[in-house]
């Protein structure tokens, strides 16, 4: 979940008032935010809604709080629509067809009238990072560049460029490199170059005089792309393959910047292909369509007979304009949001806007019958028997190492399920049996008073071609007895007792070629000629691998097969 840091003075000026930390804790849930701590005068805020990128900035959170407390929506007058196109002057960006299939779109807007301070610069960099890495899938779908517009000669051009012949000095370096060299040598190139490095042409942004703006999504130029404290005129450009994500990000950032005191200057965007909004639009652009919700659905979902006015007022608190006709609430989605997928999303805004405290908890009266699963019922029966036999119940992790689950057990790994992306070799195998877990206990418990009689009823996983997943998960009982005098006779006594009380007639069959057991001292247990388990005396080679020095017997049963 996104976390941001903000200077409290900047944040409180955006809020229009100061809050104590306790007050923040109380009001933050309105924005699904949590106060994560503070460092001096820096507030750390965690944002829980991963589908609300507009809240991942100080300005966005402040907007939500201010709207909620004032019941007044923010108005932004710089958005164009299809029919209402704002003046873009000579500001224009032209997408060339050579970028299609590589990174289809580049859009932009400009801003002026606010001297960039260190706080504002840090805030912009943070927004850029959160939006591009979380919402933009680590720049794959959104890359954002901020430039010094004073140095730009319009129109700006976006194209697919020859990665070897196109050269410029990237930010953070002093020498000229080709686009391909940037991918290989520049730190940002190494981090993000892979997004485009398999394409024949690389995305490239330059102005009408041929001056480089950037190589999106990797790095800005060292000249036009080096924004500093004191700059006043900015050009903000976004590129990526999904137009709506770019438009939303531009909307969020332009609203944030307007809140911080910038005047937003629209830019005309000429696409290289026809889009659902036409071949040319002016950005920031209001692209969202309205969403509606039956008021009856809202009332039923919330369990509260809210009036139309209450619904409208609740939505206003959330910064959402709405109208109600014939029992249908229609909302005008705020410029900086695009998370209304379903009527349910409107219902949630009504809930938060109305105040969660205003909904009284009440239990549903419908009768349902409770029950444990059959496997749980049976496991408990087995557990009672094992405890009666003097065994201690253990509980183990299900992930372990190859050494524990395969090598130390002297078994083959053909039925063992491995993790493809283990974090460490300590957790790269899903356990195929309870027995290695029991032996691990023995290996770390030499200090514990003997005898060691332990068991576990838990899950194991192994390969099974017949299943859709090629694996099966089973509930298994495993038990082990370790002492200076314990052997096959004890093992068979335990098994016999267990099977008697589980009311199972069984036969035994000698186990051949199982490295876990001493040859001639292990047997399979069959019920109705189906194998349900096995037991035996642990082979000293296994004990040696685990570093155990006491003799041991062990047994394992498939609870699901006994059920």
């Amino acid at each position: 979940m996104p976390k941001i840091e903000t200077h409290e003075n900047l944040f409180y000026s955006l809020c229009g008032k100061r809050y104590t930390d306790d007050e923040l804790v109380d009001i933050f849930p309105v924005a699904k935010a949590e106060l994560d701590g503070r460092e001096g005068d820096k507030l750390k805020i965690e944002l829980n809604d991963t589908n609300r990128p507009d809240l991942w900035s100080a300005a966005g959170v402040a907007r939500a709080l201010r709207t909620y407390e004032s019941g007044k929506k923010y108005e932004y007058n710089f958005f164009s629509t299809k029919d209402d196109v704002k003046d873009s002057g000579n500001r224009c960006i032209i997408d060339d067809a050579s970028a299609l299939g590589i990174r289809d779109y580049s859009i932009a807007f400009a801003a002026k009238g606010c001297k960039v301070t260190e706080e504002i610069l840090l805030t912009l960099i943070q927004s850029q990072e959160k939006l591009c890495s979380n919402f933009g899938r680590k720049r794959k779908t959104i890359a954002l560049g901020i430039y010094r517009s004073d140095l730009i000669t319009y129109p700006v051009h976006y194209c697919g460029a020859d990665p070897d012949k196109t050269r410029f000095v990237p930010l953070g370096m002093t020498e000229e490199l080709s686009l391909r060299e940037i991918c290989e040598k520049h730190p940002k190139g190494k981090e993000y170059g892979y997004i485009v490095s398999d394409k024949p042409l690389f995305p490239y942004l330059y102005d009408d005089k041929g001056e480089t703006l950037s190589f999106p999504p990797v790095i800005n130029s060292a000249k036009i792309g080096a924004v500093e404290v004191g700059d006043e005129n900015l050009f903000i450009e976004l590129s990526g393959p999904i137009l709506d994500d770019l438009l939303l990000t531009a909307s969020i950032l332009s609203c944030d910047m307007a809140d911080m005191g910038f005047e937003i200057l629209p830019v005309r965007v000429k696409f290289a292909k026809e889009t659902k909004y036409g071949s040319e639009i002016t950005v920031p652009y209001y692209f969202q369509s309205s969403q509606s919700c039956d008021i009856a659905y809202a009332r039923k979902t919330l369990g509260e007979e809210l009036t139309e006015d209450e619904c409208k007022a609740a939505l206003t608190n959330m910064g959402v304009d709405s109208s109600i006709n014939d029992g249908v609430i229609t909302v005008k989605v705020p410029e900086y949001r695009n998370d209304f997928l379903h009527a349910a999303d409107i219902v949630e805004d009504i809930m938060i806007g109305h105040g969660l405290l205003n909904f009284a908890p009440v239990l549903s009266a419908e009768f349902t019958k409770g029950s444990l699963s059959p496997a749980e019922e049976y496991s408990r029966k087995v557990k009672r028997l094992m405890v009666g036999l003097g065994f201690q119940e253990m509980m183990y992790n299900y992930l372990g190492s190859r050494k524990e689950y395969v090598d130390n057990m002297h078994i083959s790994d053909e039925k063992v399920v491995f993790i493809a992306n283990p974090m460490s070799e300590n957790y790269e195998v899903v356990r195929p049996s309870v027995l290695p877990s029991l032996l691990e206990s023995e290996s770390v418990s030499g200090h514990a008073q003997y005898p060691h009689n332990i068991f576990e009823i838990g899950k194991v996983v192994y390969k099974d071609e017949n299943d859709n997943s090629g694996t099966v998960t089973k509930n298994h009982l495993g038990f082990m007895s370790s002492d200076n005098q314990v052997g096959f006779n004890e093992a068979i006594s335990y098994v016999n007792t267990l099977m008697y009380f589980l009311n199972k007639e069984y036969t035994l069959q000698a186990v051949e070629n199982d490295g876990r057991f001493i040859p001639g001292r292990a047997a399979k247990v069959l019920v109705n000629n189906v194998e349900v388990g096995l037991f035996g005396e642990v082979h000293p080679q296994v004990l040696e691998s685990w570093g155990c020095s006491m003799p041991a017997i062990m047994a394992e049963f498939d609870i699901d097969a006994l059920l």
């Binding site: 991963t50 349902t368 749980e376 008073q449």
Partner: protein
């Protein structure tokens, strides 16, 4: 006196009863009168002194010589010097090695004994370097030593009783330590005389009053029952404060007990338990829950993939088509969908179950209306293992399916969990976010010990989730953070401890 007379050992009881105020209490007397062994007598003295019931009056040091085993055999066979004297007398002159061989003596013993004889002018080496007698009688100190040995056969020789000559004669034959090869062992001892204290008298009176004799029966044996001999005496009462020996019982696991308690609680609230496999696929683990396939929580750094088989064979229809359509344009769920092309290969990719909600997703197509379900599901996350993150862990999750269930019912349910399962004093609800619920609620509780914390997350399943699964009624979904409460219940503060392999720590673990 703060002594429970029942706690006194029979050796103490009998001794106390046998002595009177002012009398001397000595080992000699007790051994004789009560037939104690020396060790028993010493134990009784030591315990009673420690309790202040008898006190030392004086102590006398003394020393004595007693025959070792070697000494006892020498008393019969003769000292080496006596044997050499007799040998030479009967067989005439011989070399020293010949004497050693004939008498089976060590060369060194023969050497020193001959030295003793020659020193006393009883023997000498002749011209052939053979030893021969030059006197008819043994040296005087040997005669004295022989007399002492004979005397010592009856009783140890008190050092104080020996003459100066005798002391000289015995010196070379005795050792204090390592005396096995010597004739005598020299022993130093103390005789301690005790006397009864007033506390001792008090306890003695209590014993008499309670009629405790020290002759009471200890263990009741089958023989006593069969013979009826138990009727001829009384049983020794046992003290209650003696050290207790350890019993290792068969036991359930304390964490398992807690999970059973939670399950029973949920069953009592009308929930039916569900379960499922640990190996899942992207479809059920995420797609069916309307998490877009590009969602950041579905990244390689969040979920464990299976190496082989990488994909499952198929995803059940019609769920696959319905879910794919819902992601793309909302299908018939009333949603506009995520607006991307659903990846039919990605959806078959196999993962370790990463969230318990998967079980709820599986339940939706077969859920009863009304129906309540829960599961305690082992889940796996790609996380660094530490005190607050396990490689695998339990999540407690469930759903409530009903024609008219709503937000207020969800709040009611959370309140009930907070009170019944968590013992909460206060409950607070805040809006939350989960990809599969809308609205979403987090429940925070004030716990008597832990203070405020997040008990769980919940919400009403998005219609994109339920309708795609063919269910046209609302479904309340909830998950509880049980482990935090389990740790508190068990007095632990490290999640890894819940699954410890350490036998001793599991044996000793118990709930609060």
């Amino acid at each position: 006196m703060d002594i429970d007379v029942k706690n006194l050992h029979p050796l103490e009881v009998r001794l106390l009863r046998a002595v009177k105020m002012g009398e001397d209490i000595t080992a000699e007397r007790i051994i004789k009168e009560l037939d104690y062994k020396v060790g028993q007598c010493n134990q009784a003295f030591s315990w009673l002194s420690a309790k202040g019931l008898i006190v030392e009056k004086n102590r006398v040091k003394y020393a004595f010589y007693e025959l070792t085993d070697t000494g006892k055999s020498q008393a019969e066979l003769g000292l080496p010097v006596e044997r050499i004297f007799t040998f030479l007398k009967e067989n005439g002159a011989h070399t020293l090695p010949e004497i050693a061989a004939s008498l089976s003596l060590e060369q060194s013993d023969v050497g020193s004994s001959f030295g003793q004889l020659s020193g006393a002018k009883c023997a000498a080496l002749n011209g052939e370097r053979k030893a021969e007698l030059i006197s008819d009688s043994l040296p005087n100190d040997v005669v004295i030593a022989r007399a002492l040995i004979n005397k010592a056969l009856n009783a140890p020789l008190m050092e104080a009783d020996l003459t100066k000559e005798e002391k000289n004669a015995i010196k070379g034959l005795a050792k204090k330590r390592g005396a096995a090869a010597s004739t005598f062992k020299y022993v130093e001892k103390e005789d301690v005389t005790y006397t009864l204290t007033s506390d001792g008298q008090e306890v003695k009176d209590a014993l008499l009053k309670a009629n405790i004799t020290g002759e009471e029966f200890g263990l009741l044996t089958p023989q006593m029952i069969q013979s009826g001999s138990w009727k001829n005496g009384t049983f020794r009462p046992y003290g209650l404060n003696a050290p207790v020996s350890r019993i290792i019982p068969g036991r359930t696991n304390a964490y398992g007990d807690y999970l059973m308690w939670v399950k029973d609680k949920l069953v009592s609230l009308g929930f039916e338990e569900f379960d499922g496999p640990l190996v899942e696929n992207e479809f059920w683990n995420g797609d069916a829950l309307f998490m877009p396939q590009f969602h950041s929580a579905r990244d390689i750094h969040d979920v464990y993939y299976i190496k082989d088989p990488v994909h499952c064979k198929e995803i059940e229809e019609p769920w696959l088509s319905r879910v794919a359509k819902t992601h793309e344009d909302g299908g018939d769920t009333g949603s506009r969908g995520w607006g991307y092309t659903f990846d039919h290969e990605f959806t078959r990719r196999q993962v370790m179950r990463s969230q318990g909600t998967v079980l709820s997703a599986h339940q939706l197509p077969k859920a009863k209306v009304p129906g309540k379900y829960f599961g305690v599901a082992r889940c796996f996350r790609y996380d660094q293992v530490d005190a607050t993150h396990g490689a695998d862990f339990y999540q407690t999750e469930g759903i409530v399916v009903g024609k008219d269930v709503n937000l207020r019912n969800l709040l009611g349910l959370l309140k009930m969990f907070a009170e019944e399962v968590a013992g909460a004093e206060e409950v607070k609800y805040v809006p939350g976010y989960f990809p599969f619920t809308e609205p979403s609620i987090e429940v925070h509780i004030k716990h008597p010990k832990l203070g405020w914390f997040e008990l769980g997350g919940s919400g009403i399943f998005r219609p994109e989730v339920t309708r795609a699964m063919g269910l046209d009624v609302p479904v309340l979904a909830w998950g509880l953070g049980i482990d935090r409460m389990a740790l508190m219940h068990l007095g632990l503060n490290d999640l890894r401890e819940l699954f410890t392999p350490d036998i001793e720590s599991v044996r000793m673990r118990r709930g609060n």
